[in-house]
């Protein structure tokens, strides 16, 4: 059943206007905007790129989550879906996996740009993939829950990023810490602790989502 739902989500992502192509375009646009804030001599600095990467990942995750629910609310199909006898935790997991994979796709495209412009090599990119996937579980898991908590009415929708950002700051800081450790090949400082914090956030996001998604979607 879960695979059917994941297939559903991928199918809807590919059919709607909010697919990987548009998300990648959004991410690259964000990167170009951010690059304007630095002098040209600094923009191939890997520390700056690393910071930009996680800012763009956070922004992309907000867009992805909003788009996923907007698609259901545009023509009010959500009543029909969420009144079915299906286990709603499976719907949460299908959204979590699908958005995670799409966000990972966006991250890979960004990392490919880094290979071209910042001299990153393929080995490092390969090592960064598990980090990206683990980070995405935390971001998307908490993101979906906060979105449902804050989107009870249109006037409150601005609260989503307002509440989301403080919660994901520890995720972003630790992801950035690990990524930098992998890039400069110095994994001594806070490396294990950062992985454990990311793992905690990912597990919390998934477990809270499984337990609360049904209640929040029907509020």
């Amino acid at each position: 059943m879960l695979f059917k739902l994941i297939y559903n989500e991928f199918y809807l992502e590919s059919k709607s206007s909010y697919n990987l192509f548009y998300m990648s375009f959004f991410a690259i646009s964000c990167l170009m905007f951010l690059l304007f804030t630095f002098p040209l001599s600094k923009i191939n600095d890997i520390i700056i790129f690393n910071g930009f990467l996680w800012i763009i990942v956070a922004l992309s995750s907000i867009k992805l989550i909003e788009n996923s629910f907007a698609r259901e609310r545009d023509f009010s199909v959500h009543d029909l879906i969420y009144s079915s006898s299906i286990d709603l935790s499976l719907v949460f997991l299908s959204k979590l996996f699908t958005l995670n994979m799409i966000l990972a796709g966006v991250q890979l495209i960004l990392l490919f740009i880094y290979i071209l412009f910042a001299g990153l090599n393929f080995d490092i990119v390969f090592n960064l993939i598990p980090l990206c996937v683990l980070t995405n579980f935390g971001l998307i898991g908490f993101g979906i829950l906060i979105f449902l908590l804050t989107n009870t009415s249109t006037s409150k929708s601005f609260l989503f990023p307002v509440i989301f950002f403080p919660i994901i700051i520890p995720i972003l800081i630790n992801s950035s810490n690990i990524a930098l450790g992998l890039i400069i090949q110095d994994t001594a400082s806070l490396y294990i602790e950062s992985w454990l914090i990311l793992l905690t956030f990912a597990l919390l996001g998934v477990l809270l989502g499984i337990n609360l998604f049904g209640r929040l979607i029907k509020q």
Binding site: R71, V77, D79, L80, I86, K218
Partner: protein, 203 residues
């Protein structure tokens, strides 16, 4: 049988439903009428579990399925009728029979629109698409909000014919409506909601 007992629902301090009780057997059609804002949609949403209620209980006979169709289009706008139905059938863990699907398009006179994304459909054809969903998914109880709105005379006639067909298959339909005269001919039971209270059998 669907049984609702002493259902109470308030929004903030406004009481919408007060001690609402009623029951519907399988194979019956029940219409809910009332002025705008009296709580028809809230009642349907409460019994389909889409919103929580303050007190009371809603009980279905075991192993019964239900389908809730709101007064909105209930579609993914970028998909065609068939794609939309396929996606919805997966959420309901069911498979589509293409013979029934083709038949439903013919009966509702929208076969020529099958390649068109649903976002380009007129309001009347979106309403017809709701019945395509109902004809192709398996259910015992259908809760449908304002089924006759946006329909022309032919559409209303087709809907009533299909509702009667559902009834002959021992399926129950509970719908809210303002078209009381149109509904009388097919309904077994009519309920009016007035001052947050259900008044049964006003036929």
């Amino acid at each position: 049988m669907l049984t609702v007992k002493n259902l109470n629902k308030s929004f903030s301090n406004t009481c919408v439903l007060q001690n609402a009780s009623f029951s519907v057997d399988l194979g019956k059609i029940c219409a809910i009428s009332g002025v705008n804002g009296c709580g028809k949609t809230t009642f349907l949403k409460c019994i389909s579990g889409l919103i929580s209620y303050d007190s009371g209980f809603v009980e279905f006979k075991s192993n019964t399925n239900f389908l809730f169709l709101s007064d909105k289009p209930n579609v993914f706008g970028d998909l065609t009728i068939e794609e939309n139905l396929t996606i919805l059938s997966r959420y309901h863990n069911q498979k589509i029979d293409m013979n029934i699907f083709n038949d439903s398009l013919e009966v509702l006179n929208i076969a020529e629109l099958r390649e068109l994304p649903l976002k380009f459909f007129s309001q009347g054809n979106l309403q017809r698409n709701k019945l395509v969903i109902a004809m192709n998914l398996k259910w015992d109880y259908l809760f449908i909000d304002e089924p006759f709105s946006n329909l022309d005379h032919q559409g209303i006639k087709a809907f009533k014919k299909i509702f009667t067909r559902f009834k002959s298959e021992e399926k129950s339909i509970i719908f809210s409506t303002h078209h009381i005269d149109e509904s009388k001919s097919i309904c077994d039971k009519m309920i009016n909601i007035k001052n947050s209270t259900l008044i049964s059998d006003v036929i």
